[in-house]
Symmetry: C2
Subunit: 372 residues, 2 copies
């Protein structure tokens, strides 16, 4: 029907603005030359306000998971006691990564439709003074839950464990205050709220995390943070980076700064609220309660969701994401992050309404809209 203009509404990769895309097509330059050295440290510094930190931010050529593994491979030695807070697919990825590095793995499991309870973390830590590292996901995109990492950080109280945060689908869409909240490591990636193409991860360590990482005995080379620190002294990367992505990110940051960070965050909250109101009005069931809802992605319960998604893609060119893990085929997820506006939320809701109406699943909102 409208397939000639595809509408990507998945929680990453997100549509890339033309201004950003065109940077990807710029002529190749030397990554050891003056132009790269001029732009690279500046771009990374401009990410500081998004992370809420004055710590050095590093760029890794790789997927978001490569960024997560920078954290694990520079912190987790064999038998290091770690706590993974698992309430979804990406929390589980932390646990898999820690297991791959031979950690003494403790897992606190939480329901895959609600936020992580800081009280349970506090209680666990009280009885486990040996834990050295805690791994958590800020925005669990698999469940569309925003976890309260500030409260989780505080739940440590006097406990010395470092807090490592996956902010891949949060950064740039919702406030992150690494320094103020006492987060020790924060990881993110390019293809979510930063609205640049996939292939770049970002990692930043607090001074305490960097100090702790000195004793790490894990095998690592490409992801060894020490090399990135060493080369940063001459404004370079240790290995040939995806050069144009630096310029793409620069352009994306131009757009984010022009809108203003607070306005960017407000836009994401508005999209969340619109999406949730619309889903309720249509008569579908939200996966997550209001208080735990993500500002960047919304999960909707739906039987045989994958068939439904295929129909929407086929008929309207609108692409939603499916469920992961225990939610496979029983939810769909609508991304509203990065290069997305409230108008994009309206169209996402419109195709849901139109389709449900057309196929005899009339809903209250559909009645109102379609029969007006």
């Amino acid at each position: 029907m409208y397939r000639f203009k595809p509408e990507l509404r998945i929680p990453g990769p997100v549509p890339v603005p033309n201004e950003v895309s065109l940077q990807m097509a710029k002529p190749m330059i030397n990554h050891r030359g003056a132009l790269f050295k001029e732009h690279y440290p500046k771009v990374l510094a401009r990410l500081g306000p998004l992370f809420g930190t004055t710590n050095q931010i590093h760029m890794i050529t790789g997927s978001g998971t490569a960024g997560m593994e920078v954290a694990v491979s520079n912190l987790v030695s064999p038998n290091t006691p770690v706590l993974c807070l698992v309430g979804g697919f990406f929390g589980n990825r932390w646990a898999e990564l820690c297991a791959a590095y031979g950690a003494e793995l403790h897992i606190l499991d939480f329901p895959w439709d609600a936020g992580i309870d800081p009280e349970k973390v506090r209680e666990f830590l009280k009885h486990h003074p040996e834990i050295e590292l805690i791994f958590v996901v800020y925005n669990e995109s698999s469940t569309a839950v925003l976890n309260d990492v500030e409260a989780i950080s505080k739940a440590r109280e006097g406990h010395s464990a470092l807090l490592v945060v996956d902010a891949v689908s949060a950064l740039g869409g919702t406030p992150c205050q690494m320094d103020a909240w006492g987060l020790d490591v924060v990881v993110s990636a390019s293809q979510k709220c930063l609205m640049t193409p996939p292939g770049t991860a970002f990692v930043t360590f607090s001074p305490r995390a960097k100090e702790y990482s000195q004793k790490c005995r894990a095998s690592r080379y490409y992801l060894d943070l020490r090399r990135y620190d060493q080369y940063m002294e001459k404004s370079e990367t240790p290995f040939t980076p995806n050069i144009n992505n630096v310029f793409a990110l620069e352009e994306a940051l131009n757009m984010i700064e022009a809108e203003g960070l607070d306005n960017v965050y407000a836009r994401h909250r508005l999209m969340r609220d619109m999406m949730r109101s619309g889903i309720k009005a249509i008569g579908l069931e939200l996966l997550v309660a209001d208080e735990d809802a993500s500002p960047t992605v919304t999960g909707v319960r739906y039987p045989n969701a994958d068939g439904f998604r295929a129909r929407l893609r086929e008929r309207y060119g609108v692409e939603f994401a499916g469920g992961q893990g225990i939610h496979a085929n029983n939810i769909f997820r609508v991304g509203h992050m990065g290069y997305a506006t409230p108008l994009d939320v309206l169209t996402a809701l419109a195709v849901l309404e139109m389709d449900l109406k057309k196929f005899g699943q009339a809903t209250k909102a559909a009645e109102l809209v379609m029969e007006a």
Copy 2:
């Protein structure tokens, strides 16, 4: 002088053809969607003739070094006896990687201006039946040497060690016959002769190497080959890849196939021969003898080479690479790979001639050219 049109003549990243660059700016798509799944396995299969293999080729979002680490982290367990053949900066990188993974490291050192002698490899292996893995660089771009990996492979004779080859700056510029030569692992990257932007590595394992990797005990996750194999079954990558790079590579392969692989290799040999004849005619000293010369990059001895390079960049917009390791500041290197033609070799030689003439270092060729 001509700086408004920069001429990148370094051994990677190389200039990217516009046809390829524009693929980088195409609209973002879902990496779990039909379009990606359709193109991804086809593009990888088209790399088969360049690697000279029917083995599955995998694409890793990362620098070439990430590809090298796929080899090491999937093969080297603590105390695995390995042999690294080191005749340059990237041979040394193999040794560093193996050391990082706790190998029992044996190094055969070769001069940094000549090819690796297969006889010395044969001799070493005769006395070291315990060696399980041999690491070598096909085209050592730091010294502009092309190693005879076919002869090195044969030098194993009855020895069971697997041969792991870094073909980063060779693949697509000179023939590689993985299967016929009995290579067990071959690694390459996008930003050299494949003339696509940096950020993608390629890795392929022989059945014997894959079998051997099953017993590997190294910690790995992002670079775990098993995950790539598993996801390949559904024509996907385990982690969000740099999607547009797949389409860029597709376009580059269109160009390579249109020219014909044999013609591509002949073009590289011609550029090598032209460059070497020109350098000799100018009266400068080549780093490497004819029989070991790389078809993709040429090294030239020059005192205070970095100052000279800066002047060439400043005056003519032509960028050569410097020396690495023991060659720092005493050689310069001219890349002639990928999107490069014999005309580009002529202009590289021309600026050398003009500059040496202008600054009083008249040479025979400069006399001829400048005073004609």
